[in-house]
Amino acid sequence: MDRQQLAGYFDYNATTPVSPAVAEAMTATLGQFANASSNHAEAIRNRNAMQQARVSVAEMLGTSADKVFFTSGGSEANNWAIKGRLFNHLNKPGHIITTAIEHPSVLETVRYFEKQFGFKVSYLKPQSNGAISISDFMAALQEDTQLVSMMYANNETGVIQPISEVAKITSARGIKLHVDGVQLVGKRAIDVEACDIDYLSFSAHKFYGPKGVGGLYIKENNSLSPLIHGGGQELGLRSGTENLLAISGLAKAAEEAKCAIAQWDQHAQACKHLMVDLIQQADISVEFNGDTTYANALSNTLNMAIKGVRGEALAVLMDKKHGFIISIGSACSNNKQKTLSAVLLAMGLDEERIQSSIRVSFGQYTTTADIENFVTALNQCVKQLSAMSFAS
């Protein structure tokens, strides 16, 4: 790993680098080509490796290996949970509850059922702190609610949603609950069995594993149709020749996460505190978007509006002048349209605030020195952009 590249990387929520141990595990697997569904010795060794990987992931999630199903990533897992459930209900389309702050792989999928097949959908808006309120959730429930799909932690704000409360309600009423855990898994410990979740999606590349692999926890595997039919892999629920290479990377990432998750989280929390302190010392005028407390938000994420500058311009300057990579709340998309973050909009923020918002997310390779350099650069960039702007 290129230390200099990592020093400037503040976009861990978009994707993470693979860890050295993951890279090593994958390099070692690259030559092991036998088809894990065949029956010769090498194939069986690969099948056993698959099973071992399933155990590693299960241990990270607090469940057993037979409830872990591998997919090509978080998007497939989200699509699968929703489609695998709702395609069984097309003859009697009912009501779905989701939120306005879901990842597009949930939102677009739910919209597809709404537009194409006549399901009714409640898109819950978060409070201004970025979290869905339980009373709003309760109010949205209907007689024929067939599925609830709610994320565990939001990718833009890091705000953690009240999943355990929701799960209590859905399980009491016999409504299936899908949780997009992509941003939480690998960052906070999770015990999926203790919580009454029916389906939980995760994605390796958000916690130092490779892209293109993830999975779905499925509590009752007869509750879901396959999204990918075929040769019967993954207990017949997800077909396709097993991608042992990627899965070996996922497994190693899961093992590392299981061991180090508390330590990573503490480190991230320390980085976050430091960043907030330094920003305040630097006298940059910021407003944080969404809750930033430990209990209510991921430790590695800060979403903030910086008064008087455009987030997009700030991000470009941070990148081109200082080599820092961040994400933004709004981008130009074409002449007729701008794209304002749907998450920040749903939180009720106004256009100007969204246009001046940036998302900073860090991880295990971020050092406190990186944080210091980051804020120094941020301060310079904000000053430079402010100086260009109209005298206020």
Binding site: A313, V316, N335, K338, M388
Partner: protein, 125 residues
């Protein structure tokens, strides 16, 4: 995404500021994006001797403002107003779809300048 012309003109713009007494002042805003640009121009014997801008907007629109100001220096108003489409396109370099609105901004700046010149000609003539 951002070509070198845009990056350079955005990262270190040389023409930011205010003129004490400008001969011409142009102001454009993009209602969709919320970009706002003001350009002030000083004339010396019908040649442009200085041009400064202020901008609030995306990186490409800031760069556009600086590119525009830079292109004015030591030019006659006539020559600036005669620039054709092709010329203006190469001023910004290759743009991705999300940056095309900056081509509109550049066109608008030229357009406003032409109008001002006509207004001045009328005033002076």
């Amino acid at each position: 995404m951002y070509n070198d012309i845009i990056i350079e003109n955005f990262s270190d713009p040389q023409h930011v500021g205010d003129l004490e007494s400008a001969d011409i002042e142009l102001e454009v805003g993009n209602s969709v994006c919320g970009d706002r640009i003001r350009v002030q121009i000083l004339l010396d014997d019908n040649k442009i001797s200085n041009a400064l801008f202020r901008a609030w907007g995306c990186a490409t629109s800031v760069a556009t403002a600086n590119i525009f100001c830079d292109s004015l220096l030591n030019q006659s108003l006539d020559s600036v107003c005669q620039r054709d489409v092709e010329y203006k396109q190469q001023m910004l370099g290759e743009l991705s779809p999300s940056q095309h609105h900056c081509m509109d901004i550049l066109n608008e700046l030229h357009q406003l300048l032409s109008e001002q010149r006509v207004a001045e000609d009328v005033a002076n003539g």
